[in-house]
Amino acid sequence: MKLSFWQVITIPLLVGLVLSWVLFSESEAEIKATISAAQALSGGDTEGYIQALGPREFVFPGDHGAHPGFKTEWWYYTGNLFTEEGKQIGYQFTIFRNQLSPSVAGNASSLAQDNDRQTSQAGSTDPAQIKPDDFVRINPESKGAQNSVWNTNQLYLAHFAISDVSKKEHVFDERYSRGAAGLAGASVDPYQIWLEDWEITRVKDLEASDERFPVRIKAEMSNGTALDVVLNPLKPLVLQGEEGYDKKGGEDGNASFYISFTRMQTEGILQKDGESLVVSGLSWMDHEWSTSALDSGQTGWDWFSIQLSNGYELMYYQIRNTDPELLPQTTGSLVAPNGQKRDLDQGEVRLDVLKYWTSPYTGARYPVQWILAIPSEELEIDVATVFDDQEMTVSVQYYEGALQVSGKFRDKAIKGNGYIEMTGYEQD
């Protein structure tokens, strides 16, 4: 036994140190967790939803409201407004409706009742899919529960963007909400499409009809940029495509119902950077609903809405294919000053890209300048975004940009403004 004091003491000390090292090495970490869910079948599954299979008769004001049963729907407003000093302001305000599951939840949203007619008309719904609230079916004892107004399969999403042309500044914001509990929804009477405090409401006007009426848009971004404008349609409603039935892909059901107000007088106030500006100009409204639009080989679209100085409006989109050899699917219409629409057939419109812009945020390469020509109408215009950076990097990535246009129409010089929407340019 030749153990020194220090040798004896060292052993428990070492054991203690090692133990405390093992026990306390775990660092204090922030509470963090994610949810792993069984991978849901993604967008491709359209079973149980209503599909747009052919032209239908629209009834208003109901059809200005929501169409549950269809998977997606949007109320899309764009416009080019000018301040009193002549500064150009582009804006986009869109409310999207997304249906999460085919069944229409019990009494979740008022729109379900408003649009019962919708489902029967389409004739493709199986009543079995409109299930009663599953919670109560599985837990019949929870009687007081039917009153919960929170359950819904309607998800609302809204995008609001301002393109301040003089500052070349693009600001945008996004909101989400369930279409229930009064937080978001679409009601026909009183007419209101809203997501929290962002809203589109009908403005009282004695001359208006249920088909054609002025609306007011109010929205404020988190950064304080806010728009409060009244839009009054100057022309009748345009039923795009075939009487409002617009085929997007070759496959059956890959189509939407699509109606537009192509020219709306717009006046109101824009608040930006601490300033309140009186603005006026022209807006364009697209209301579209569908369950599936694109075929499997289609990647995205370039969608123009242009208001010309001579009173004409041009809508034209092309849906690009993964296979560059295939010709894009196109739809277009030219609306005359009297509201007469002429459909533009496949191949009637020629579109050449003059310039591209690569997004510093996403790396996506978007065209930003084109020559657009319709030889049959003797129209050739130079179309350019008002500035490059108008990409929307929100939960979905796309480009939504104000346009300025100049060129010739039947030998006369014309100008104009518009908007371009481009999707499917994401970098892999």
Binding site: T34, A37, E141
Partner: protein, 849 residues
């Protein structure tokens, strides 16, 4: 001085310790037991606290503020207004409550959220976190649980899950699993069941309502935003900071935890006595050796250092063993502590022990520190040993005898100082424990004098009973008073601690039982199962009330409702009763205004519990502000009643008054009276049959409820009882070790007795009688100290912790048990030394002479 030289001293120490393994082991055991008790309590407390703060952190998320309703509810319209009218974005609706998951016998916190609004608040419950909205918000019965819980349940995503909320069964489907990336997150979320707001409204029957709205309010505009949000809130709702609720909850358990800690420190104190005792012996036994070492030129400081080093060794080994044993003990205590918190305060699930650095460091400091402190005096005594050692012992004894009066006076002074501390007005719980410490130390110092007195009393008795040997044995106790008094003091403190705690628990129990008898007047009680045993936090289905009223044999029914409301003193439990003036039969009042019961039925007056009055310093005639659905209202307090059900205190008002100011029509319990023709048990069965399939409720007779309540009471005191048992074990080991050491040390004396003709049998008699006498002395002295301790516990600490008035009950069996414990251990301690001595050759023991 060379290293080698020092090593030699160390070798000598080590050899001595190993030659006396019993002694060595018992010293280590003394340290280990004390340390084990302190660390186990600390660890179980800190684990519970950690589990609480982690889950609070996870559930609060990044919310800085919240909007609450007047009771536990908030209209969801408020949320719509915040989002739509005010346009405030960083707001999220929350419904929370509790439920049990079948297959795991524990309570889960059910968190109902809107995953779309959750993003900025809590990542695990948000859409961005990966919640599948299509399954979650669409009205399907779905829930999300932690991966770990799913693994424990043996379930996968998509499987069904049975849960029970307030006695109502539900089936939910698992829509996702919470994957945690680190241990704290895992712990924080292991008892969370995440559901959508709509599902939560179903589960808690809260259509149209929320529990609260979480908000994130940035610092820079805080006042402005709070101002604008507050101004648009309806009456009865309020905007508070998120931390306030968590703080309130963690405040609740403060007194509870402090008391447990104090009990564990008491154990350490006993441990210190034991260490002092054993270290002293180890020095005394070596006095001749130390004398020789000094003669050989070893310096005083070297001797001091030698003993200190021994103490360090003992302390270190004891502390390590104590920590190891303490961690094991904490595993067990954690279950009890958690159970008590769940019974008394709030739902807390603690699945595992967290070993924090702080309790471990504290244990090391206490263990080593206590050992060194206890060893210092013996070490100094050793260092001061004269070179000639022959007269050493008798000298030290006579010195003690001289000091006896002054020692006793100092003891008295310290004891009185301890009493004086209690007189300090508004003293804290800590002051109570300090006074306890003073009383114990003071009493210990008087013990030598008391022993001399007792021995003088006992000598003639033992002489009569056991002749010369009896007299010799008793006298032997005081001839070495410097040794025996320490041993006896250690025993007294240990046994007294167990007496004190025992008397306190008994007093409590008797008080509660008699209170229950007067409180429970009805024949049958109906309650839904609640998450916290002593609180009615679940509701009865409205239709049940109707069913019961119409059941044959029910003469009358009155209802009770309990909810948390906001008052001028913070969140408080409000109990409403429909008894009206008849409440006078059920409530025992401490103070009461004349004609109160008539007023209680008809006018706007309330009564509060004794605990509530104590906690918030309110009394008769004061007005209590309560935030009602009609805004802040003030009610005069006209009576104070006894209530042992809640240590947070309760406010009681008549139902008719409540209904005037609150919209909630819920009921959380019913009391039924049987008519004269119906047997209570028959009626209970009839009622049970009538609720099948409606709601799972407890229907209990008066007797049944009383028994159930006492069972819960006993459960909440399990920790205390366990600690008391541990103190008894420490005491027992202490008695055993010190008396055994004492007798072993007397080997030479015993050899002289043998050599002078005492037979082995007589030596047995001598040794056993002597240890027995010390046991009796310790037992007898422990009773007054024990009663003093219990007095302080019942009238000071309990009052300051909880505000209860208890009857002071001393049960004779408890006292007999204490004496029995002391004597039994003492007798046991005599066996080995006397056996050893009886067998040894007296010549060997004397050879050194």
């Amino acid at each position: 001085m060379s290293r080698k030289h020092q090593d030699l001293l160390w070798q000598s120490s080590l050899r001595f310790l190993l030659k006396h393994p019993w002694h060595f082991l018992l010293s280590i055991l003394g340290v280990a037991l004390g340390v084990a008790m302190v660390i186990s309590i600390d660890l179980s407390n800190s684990s519970a606290q950690r589990a609480f703060s982690l889950s609070a952190e996870a559930l609060t998320g990044k919310a800085t503020h919240q909007i609450q309703g007047s009771g536990g509810f908030l209209s969801e319209q408020v949320y719509r207004d915040v989002k739509l009218a005010t346009g405030y974005r960083n707001a999220a609706p929350v419904i929370d409550g509790y439920g049990r998951v079948q297959g795991l016998n524990r309570t889960f916190q059910i968190l109902g959220v809107d995953p779309i609004a959750e993003g900025p608040f809590r990542d695990f419950s948000s859409q961005d976190g990966g919640i599948d909205l299509a399954k979650f918000i669409t009205g399907q019965p779905t829930a999300v649980l932690s991966e770990l819980v799913l693994a424990n349940l043996g379930k996968n995503i998509g499987d069904s899950l049975q849960i029970s909320v307030g006695g109502r069964p539900f089936v939910l489907f698992i829509a996702g699993a919470i994957a945690t990336s680190n241990k704290p997150s895992e712990q924080a979320l292991e008892s969370v069941l995440l559901v959508d707001i709509n599902t939560a409204q179903h589960l808690f029957d809260m259509a149209g309502q929320l529990s609260r709205i979480d908000l994130i309010i940035p610092d820079e505009n805080e006042e402005l935003i709070i101002g604008s949000l507050s101004s648009s809130l309806p009456q009865g709702t309020r905007l508070v900071s998120s931390g306030s609720r968590t703080d309130t909850l963690s405040q609740m358990t403060r007194a509870f935890e402090l008391n447990l800690q104090a009990l564990s420190l008491l154990a350490l104190l006993v441990g210190m006595f034991l260490i002092y005792n054993t270290m002293t012996f180890s020095v005394v036994q070596r006095l001749p050796l130390i004398g020789r070492l000094r003669a050989l030129g070893v310096t005083k400081s070297e001797i001091l250092f030698m003993i200190i080093r021994e103490a360090v060794l003992i302390g270190l080994i004891g502390t390590m063993l104590g920590i190891t044993a303490g961690i094991g003990l904490a595993q067990f205590l954690l279950g009890l502590v958690t159970q008590s918190i769940n019974d008394l305060y709030f739902v807390l699930s603690v699945q595992e022990l967290t070993i924090d650095l702080v309790p471990v460091l504290k244990a090391v400091t206490l263990g080593l520190g206590a050992t060194l402190m206890a060893a210092f005096w013996p070490a100094r005594e050793a260092a001061e040993t004269e070179v000639s050692t022959v007269l050493r012992r008798s000298l030290s004894e006579s010195r003690l005898a001289q000091r006896l009066p002054s020692l006793s006076l100092i003891g008295l002074a310290i004891g009185l100082a301890g009493g004086g501390i209690l007189l300090i007005p508004n003293g804290e719980i800590i002051a109570g424990y300090n006074s306890l410490l003073f009383v114990i130390i003071g009493f210990s110092l008087v013990i030598p004098a008391l022993m001399v007195g007792l021995v003088a009393l006992m000598r003639p008795i033992f002489g009569a009973l056991n002749g010369l040997i009896g007299k010799m044995s008793v006298r032997g106790v005081v001839t070495e008073l410097s040794r025996t008094s320490v041993a006896v003091a250690a025993l007294v403190v240990a046994v007294a601690a167990s007496v004190g705690v025992g008397v306190m628990v008994d007093s409590f129990r008797v008080t509660v039982v008699s209170w229950l008898e007067s409180q429970l007047q009805a024949d049958i009680y109906v309650q839904p199962p609640s998450a916290v045993a002593r609180k009615a936090d679940a509701q009865l289905q409205a239709e049940l009330v109707q069913i019961f009223k119409e059941t044959e044999g029910v003469a009358s029914v009155h209802s009770v409702f309990s909810e948390d409301v906001m008052t001028t003193y913070g969140s408080s439990n409000l109990v409403t009763t429909s008894l009206g003036a008849k409440a006078s039969h059920s409530y025992q009042t401490k103070e009461i205004q004349d004609g109160f019961w008539e007023q209680f039925a008809l006018e706007e007056v309330i009564m509060i519990s004794e605990v509530y009055a104590y906690r918030f310093g309110v009394g008769m005639g004061d007005s209590l502000g309560i935030i009602t659905d009609k805004g802040m209202q003030y009610f005069p307090i006209q009576a104070i009643y006894f209530d042992y059900a809640s240590d947070m205190g309760t406010i009681t008002m008549n139902r008719s008054l409540y209904d005037r100011y609150f919209d909630n029509r819920a009921i959380s319990g019913l009391a039924l009276y049987a008519d004269d023709q119906t047997e209570v048990d028959v009626l209970v069965n009839r009622l049970r049959d009538s609720v099948v399939g409606v709601q799972e409720v407890f229907i209990r007779s008066n007797k049944g409820l009383r028994e159930a309540s006492i069972e819960i009471f006993d459960r909440t005191f399990t920790v205390t009882v366990v600690l008391r048992l541990l103190a008894v074990v420490v005491a027992f080991v202490g008695i055993l070790s010190s008396l055994m050491a004492l007798q072993l040390e007397r080997a030479r004396e015993h050899a002289v007795l043998r050599a002078n003709g005492m037979t082995p049998g007589q030596l047995w008699n001598y040794v056993i009688t002597q240890t027995g006498v010390m046991g009796v002395i310790a037992g007898v002295l422990s009773i007054p100290l024990g009663l003093l301790i219990s007095y302080v516990l019942v009238y000071v600490i309990n009052l300051r912790s909880f505000g209860w008035t208890l009857e002071f009950i001393v049960s004779p069996p408890l006292l007999i048990q204490a004496i029995g414990l002391a004597v039994g251990a003492a007798l046991l301690a005599g066996i080995y030394p006397s056996w050893k001595m009886a067998r040894a050759n007296p010549a060997d023991a004397l050879r050194n002479e």
